[in-house]
Each structure stands twice: as C-alpha cells, then as structure tokens.
C-alpha cells in the first residue's frame, strides 16, 4: 500500500505551484465568484492561461491536443489550484463534456471540439435539469424533432450552471415517444448557445451571485451531426458522466478546506477573546479539531477514488461517497468558519472590515446548495444503496 505520488507527479506539483506564484490568482478578473464548492472562482483569462499550458487537456490523447497523462496529474493540478485559491470553476464542464465527447463523439466532433475545449477557447455548460425534471431526468420534456439534417429543439432548461458565460451546452432532450410512455427516448446534443431561438436568463442565487440560469429554447435548429452518441440513448451517457463528475466536482473540496482551516486557525491565534486568545477557547478548539478530522477523512477518501479511476475502474457509487462527505464538510466548514471569525466574516466583499473578500459569508449563504447541486445527497445515498450495496428496489 502506497499513498505517495511518484517523483514525476511531485515535480508536476512543483511546476503548478510555480505557475500560481507567477500568476497570482488575485491579479486576474473573475466572472464567477467562489461560492465554496472547492473549485474556487471562475476566470476566462485564467482558464485560457491554463489552456495555453496544455493542462486542461493533458489527460486526453495527443491527437486531440492532449498529453496522454494519467488522471492523477489532473488531480494534482486541481488540488494545487484549489489550495492556492486559483479560479477553476469555469472550465470544469469543459473537462466533463470533453470526456463524454472522447467516449461517445464522432471523429469530426472530437476534431472540432476537443482542441478548443482544451485550450479554453470555448466554454461548455451542461443543460440537464428542467422545471419538472430535477433529480428525475426521465421526466425531461424538452423535445428534439428531426427535420432533414437538423433537429428542432423546443423547451426549457433551468439551474443550468454558468450558461450565461458559456458558448456551448451539452443538452438533454426527448427524441421520441409519447409523454406518458416510459420508453421515452432521450438524446444528448452539442448546442451552440448563439443559435437563434435561445434565451438565457441568469437567476441570482441566495448569495446574490449569478451562477445558474434559465435557458429557453424556441425552435432552435441544431445540425444532426451535433447529436452526441446514439439517438435515444442519451441517458447512459449522462449517468456515466455524472458519476465521474461527482468525483471531480468535489475532488478538491478537502484541499480547498485545508487552506480555509489554516486561515481560521491563524485568525484564532491572533484574536483576543474573553481574556485569552480565541485559539484557547475550548469550544473553538473542538470545532476546529472536528473540522480538521472531516477534512482528512474527505481527503483520504478522495485519494481512494482517484486511485480507482487511475486504474480505469468504472465507478458505480464510490464518487457518491466522496460527494456526500465533501458536501457535509463544505456546509460544516462554512458554518464553523463564521462561528470562529464572527461578525467580520459576515461582511460583504468591499465592506471596510470584511475578511478575504467576504469569502466565508458567501460560502455560508451558498452552502445549502452544496447538498443539492450536481445530484442531491438523497440521490447519492440511493446510488450508494442500490448500485453499491445492491439493496433491493421496491
């Protein structure tokens, strides 16, 4: 048993650290504020910088602009960026969609999209949820009707993360069947968001940030060659991508939390509190110790799943374990951070005495979303019970 990274992997880690020092995250404009999911903020410029280094696509094959590297390198990159609070939220779906195109795309789709995705020249989002189809994707109502060489798409998506900042969407739509039929066919489409008939309306979230959107589709023409995978067989692509996304979406939750914990500990040691330093208060110590243990638990579980993935094990429920624990950790962290930091932590970015750009307040405000976004905790637990433990279905 060996938890160590190889020499080459450690060298790469140093390279990423050097890159972050040379490109300090604070110096770059941000289109998307960090709401505490672990992937930090989002910055188009920074994403392109990472793309120029070849790092976004480094796990892809060379013929599509990649370097054929093991996914451990992707993890190390993300871990270092997270710890140093560099923005990496915007290109998350690029890597996810890129993965699906690699697995299911036509040669032309691979040639067209992968190099641009990898360089960060285009930004992709994923459009799954609808007003009446949240956790239940079988209830998707958006339709795609074939007409010659095109599909005509009509319908509405909602909670589409970063659609307003994206150029393209990977979108799920109904391709055959009656609305009452269980045999409803669902397909995946690569949709240019500048197509006529598309309206994108950001929905400010509880932290007043524009993270997710409504997407209206009215007679949108999509070339048939933009169908990803087989017609009527879109859902397996979604489920396959989801289980991996669940891992990658929370893979650096622990690394980001580690940095936050260090900052809270420093604050507690520098702040006078009831006749002594805050760091000497028993309840504060207790809360921080519990948090540290949760971070470590999340960290080692992440390593376990990373190792499975690097051995090309097809995940069934392992990522759901990581996601559930990571989201609990995120909510716990946001709450403990504010308990320790107190009033100053609750000030908005720009306020005279705010700390770290209002980071903890924004996290706390957004934290109810952690256990909902990307698959609710209930869906994760069902996945664990049914696919991991093979408990019976009703």
């Amino acid at each position: 048993m060996d938890f160590a990274f190889t020499k080459d992997e450690e060298d790469f880690r140093s390279e990423v650290r050097k890159f972050v020092q040379e490109n300090p995250p604070d110096a770059f404009p941000v289109e998307w504020e960090d709401t505490g999911y672990g992937l930090g903020a989002g910055s188009l410029v920074y994403t392109r910088l990472l793309g120029e280094k070849g790092w976004l696509s480094m796990t892809w094959p060379e013929e599509y602009g990649g370097q054929n590297r093991d996914i451990t390198y992707r993890f190390i990159l993300m871990e270092e960026l997270a710890y140093h609070r560099a923005p990496q939220a915007l290109h998350f779906f690029n890597l996810s969609v890129g993965g699906s195109i690699l697995l299911h795309g036509t040669e032309k789709q691979k040639q067209t999209f992968l190099p641009k995705l990898g360089r960060g020249e285009i930004i992709f989002c994923t459009a799954l949820s609808e007003p009446d189809a949240g956790s239940d994707l079988f209830a998707t109502k958006t339709t795609a009707v074939r007409k010659g060489d095109e599909f005509i798409i009509n319908g509405q998506k909602v909670w589409t993360t970063e659609a307003h900042l994206s150029d393209w969407a990977l979108l799920l739509a109904q391709t055959i069947g009656e609305k009452t039929s269980k045999q409803k066919g669902l397909s995946m489409f690569l949709v240019d968001l500048r197509s006529p008939g598309i309206t994108i309306q950001p929905i400010p979230n509880i932290a007043s940030e524009e993270d997710f959107c409504e997407v209206f589709l009215d007679e949108v023409n999509v070339p048939a060659e933009n169908l990803l995978g087989d017609e009527n067989k879109g859902l397996p692509i979604v489920f396959e991508a989801l289980e991996e996304d669940r891992f990658w979406a929370r893979a650096v939750r622990a690394a980001a939390a580690k940095r936050d914990l260090e900052d809270i500990v420093r604050y507690a040691k520098e702040t006078k509190y009831d006749g002594r330093m805050l760091a000497e208060n028993p309840r504060t110590r207790n809360m921080l110790v519990e948090l540290a243990i949760e971070i470590e638990a999340c960290h080692v579980l992440t390593y376990k799943v990373l190792w499975l993935l690097s051995r090309k094990v097809v995940l069934t429920h392992e990522a759901s374990i990581v996601k559930t624990l990571a989201d609990q950790l995120g909510q716990h962290l946001a709450s403990v951070a504010l308990d320790c930091v107190g009033g100053r932590g609750w000030l908005r970015q720009g306020s005279k005495w705010s700390m770290q750009g209002g980071r903890f307040a924004r996290m706390y405000a957004a934290s109810p979303g952690y256990t909902i976004a990307g698959g609710t905790t209930e869906i994760q637990k069902l996945t664990i019970a049914l696919r991991g433990l093979h408990l019976p279905r009703v």
């Binding site: 080692v300 637990k381 991991g388 433990l389």
Partner: protein, 376 residues
C-alpha cells in the same frame, strides 16, 4: 499511488479470516467472555504457532519483522470476530518494549513474546488519573539494587493472565513534567503485587493492580530513567491506531451483517432494504466505514514509512470511536429486537465499542493532540 494490499497482506487477511472463522465462532467468543481468564490457551497456542504475537517483532528477536500496516490488517480481522483474550494488550506491551527497551531487554523478552510464551500488558491509568502523563502517583524509590514501588493502577487489561506489567511510575519524587516518569517491567509473580479483576460490562478483562513495597531490580527499568513521558508520547498514537484498526474490522462485520439482514427481512410485503430510510441508514454506514478504513490505512502507511503519523493516527481513532458506535447503533435499529439478544453477534460489537473508545486515550485526549498538530 497504489492502495491495494500487498501480496503478504492479502495472505495475512485470508489466513486470519480462515483460522478465526473456524476457531473463534460467536459461540466460542461468548463462552470465553464468561470465563475468568477470558481466553482459550489452545487458541493462543494456535495464534502463536502462526506467528501472530511476534508479527511486528523484528526477525533478529524471533518475530516476523512485519511493518505496522501488516499489523493493522491482522487486527482488523481480529476485530471482525471480537477476538477475546490478550492479543491486543500484549501488543501494547510489545510496542512499549520496542519503544523503550534496551538491547539486553529486547534480547531477553522479545523472543519469548514472539513465541507466545510470555504475556505482558501496560499499566498507565490510576484512580483519579486518566490518560495523563503528568500526574501519575505511583512511586518508585531508588535503592542500591533497584526500586521500591508503591501505588495502584487501574484498567490494566489482562493483568491477571500476564507475566509482566509495564508500569509508568514516578521515580524519586517529582521532577520537571517531561522527566517525571519511568517505565518499569514488573513481574506478576512478585509477592508484593495484588491483581484484582474489576468486572466490566464488556468482554474485556480489566484489572486493578496494586504495588506495595514491591522490589523491582534495576535491570527491569525499560530504557533510560525519566524518559517515560517521551516513550509514551511515541507509543500512544500507535496504540490508538492499532485500536482503530480493530474497531474497523468490528464495524465492517456489523455493517455486513446488517446489509444481509436488510435484504432478507420482509415486512409489509417487501425486504426492508427496499425502503429508503433503511437504504439511507446503510449508505450512511458505508460512508463512515469507508472513511474509517482509509483514515486507518493512510495513518498506517505514514507510520510504516517513518513519516510523522501522530496526527493522522489520532484522527483515525477519533473517527473510529464515533463511526463504530454509529454503525452498531444503526445496525440495531435495522435489526430490531433480534439484534440485541445476547445470542446475536451484534451484541459483542456493541459491548465492545464503548470500552474500545477508552483504551489508553479516548477521543477527548486525542483531540488535544490534533489541536496542537493543526497549530492551535
């Protein structure tokens, strides 16, 4: 990164499971718990013949020279069956010797331990003193040829069947905190020792040990005088990690039993495992269990590779304390009444997980260690 078990570890796991499933059934466990000795000499002999007491003892002293991870694999299997008897307390004593003993003491004692012929245990706590290295009251007075020892130790596990007790004592009154303790290896056949079983609710055999003007020769001072605190600071995180591995095995077994039961037990026309609340309980158990496993093995890997490990070991034990309890609690809830009959296997896990939390450092004690390690 390679998180699989080594070939040797796989063999240890397989062999241990095979032997214990045959020799240590739940009925045997329950019967042994009710005896005064609390263990079977026949089973101990089998374990000794398989090299278990000496697994971690270096080869030059008659052991197998295995690393700590190998030891954790073995303990995990023992935890699955709630192995009764002195294996764990003996291991704690062995680890104390490996930490503190000088060459002569190693040569004399370790081969006997490896062959299973000598049993030892560690005596730390006292009435009024729990998990404390600074306020221990047992005293040793220096004389020309050794020490005169007085004092009372509590929760000395398996002292009644041990040959040797490693006792933390103050030598010649107080010194600075860090130099306050020394470790003495005291033979239980000494007439000035009184060992009394203190009947606990669980299966483990706890003892009160009193020393009254007991003579202990100088050669039985382990390592250097006054270094007891530093030896114990090294030792206790290892003990915590070893215990966490045992608890991991127990939690894993309780979890497996429960998932099986949930698939078979039918109520309202369906297996109860088809109901979401039961599914969620099971998912919660698996999450805790998987975290527990990886915390234990990660800390074990650090220790086996000579990295600093105390923080990780303490975290693993704190997690295990809570997780084993949570998992057995949910196991009962899913089993219903059948679970808390004396006859059912779960009862052993339940009555075991609480005292396992206390052993040589509970969560509260270890939290202080973690607090220091994270910079508080």
């Amino acid at each position: 990164m390679d998180l699989s078990l080594t070939e040797e570890q796989k063999i240890i796991k397989k062999e241990t499971r095979r032997v214990l499933s045959k020799e240590c059934s739940k009925d045997i466990v329950r019967n042994l718990q009710k005896t005064r000795e609390g263990y079977s000499i026949e089973l101990w002999k089998i374990m000794a013949s398989l090299g278990w007491p000496g697994l971690i003892i270096p080869e030059e002293y008659g052991g197998s020279g295995a690393n700590f991870l190998d030891q954790l694999v073995l303990l995990e299997e023992m935890g699955r069956v709630c192995l009764p008897g002195p294996y764990f307390s003996n291991l704690v004593g062995t680890l104390a010797l490996l930490e503190a003993a000088n060459e002569k003491q190693r040569e004399k004692l370790l081969p006997q331990i490896a062959s299973g012929k000598l049993l030892l245990t560690l005596a730390l706590d006292e009435p009024g003193v729990r998990h404390d290295l600074n306020f221990i009251e047992s005293q040793a007075r220096s004389t020309d040829d050794g020490y005169i020892v007085n004092g009372t130790k509590l929760f000395v596990e398996n002292a009644h069947i041990s040959d040797l007790i490693i006792a933390a004592v103050k030598v010649d009154g107080s010194r600075t905190k860090d130099e306050s303790l020394s470790l003495l290896a005291i033979e239980t056949k000494n007439p000035n020792i009184t060992i009394t079983l203190i009947d606990s609710f669980g299966a483990e055999k706890q003892c009160e040990v009193s020393f009254s003007e007991l003579k202990c020769p100088t050669v039985n001072l382990l390592g250097e005088p006054h270094l007891g605190v530093s030896y114990l600071r090294q030792l206790l995180p290892k003990v915590a990690l070893a215990k966490a591995a045992e608890m991991l095995g127990g939690a894993e077994r309780a979890f497996e039993l429960t998932c099986e039961y949930a698939k078979q037990r039918v109520q309202f026309g369906s297996p109860i495992g088809a109901y979401q609340i039961i599914q969620f309980y099971c998912a919660d158990m698996l999450i805790s269990l998987e975290a527990m496993r990886n915390l234990v093995y990660h800390a074990g890997w650090k220790l086996s590779n000579n990295f600093p490990f105390a923080k990780e070991a303490a975290m693993a034990k704190i997690w295990a304390d809570e997780a084993y309890k949570q998992i057995t609690t949910l196991s009962f809830q899913i089993h219903g009444a059948i679970g808390f009959t004396e006859d059912y296997e779960l009862s052993s896990h339940w009555l075991r997980n609480k005292p396992e939390q206390f052993v040589h450092g509970n969560s509260e004690y270890l939290s202080d260690l973690v607090a220091r390690e994270i910079g508080l």
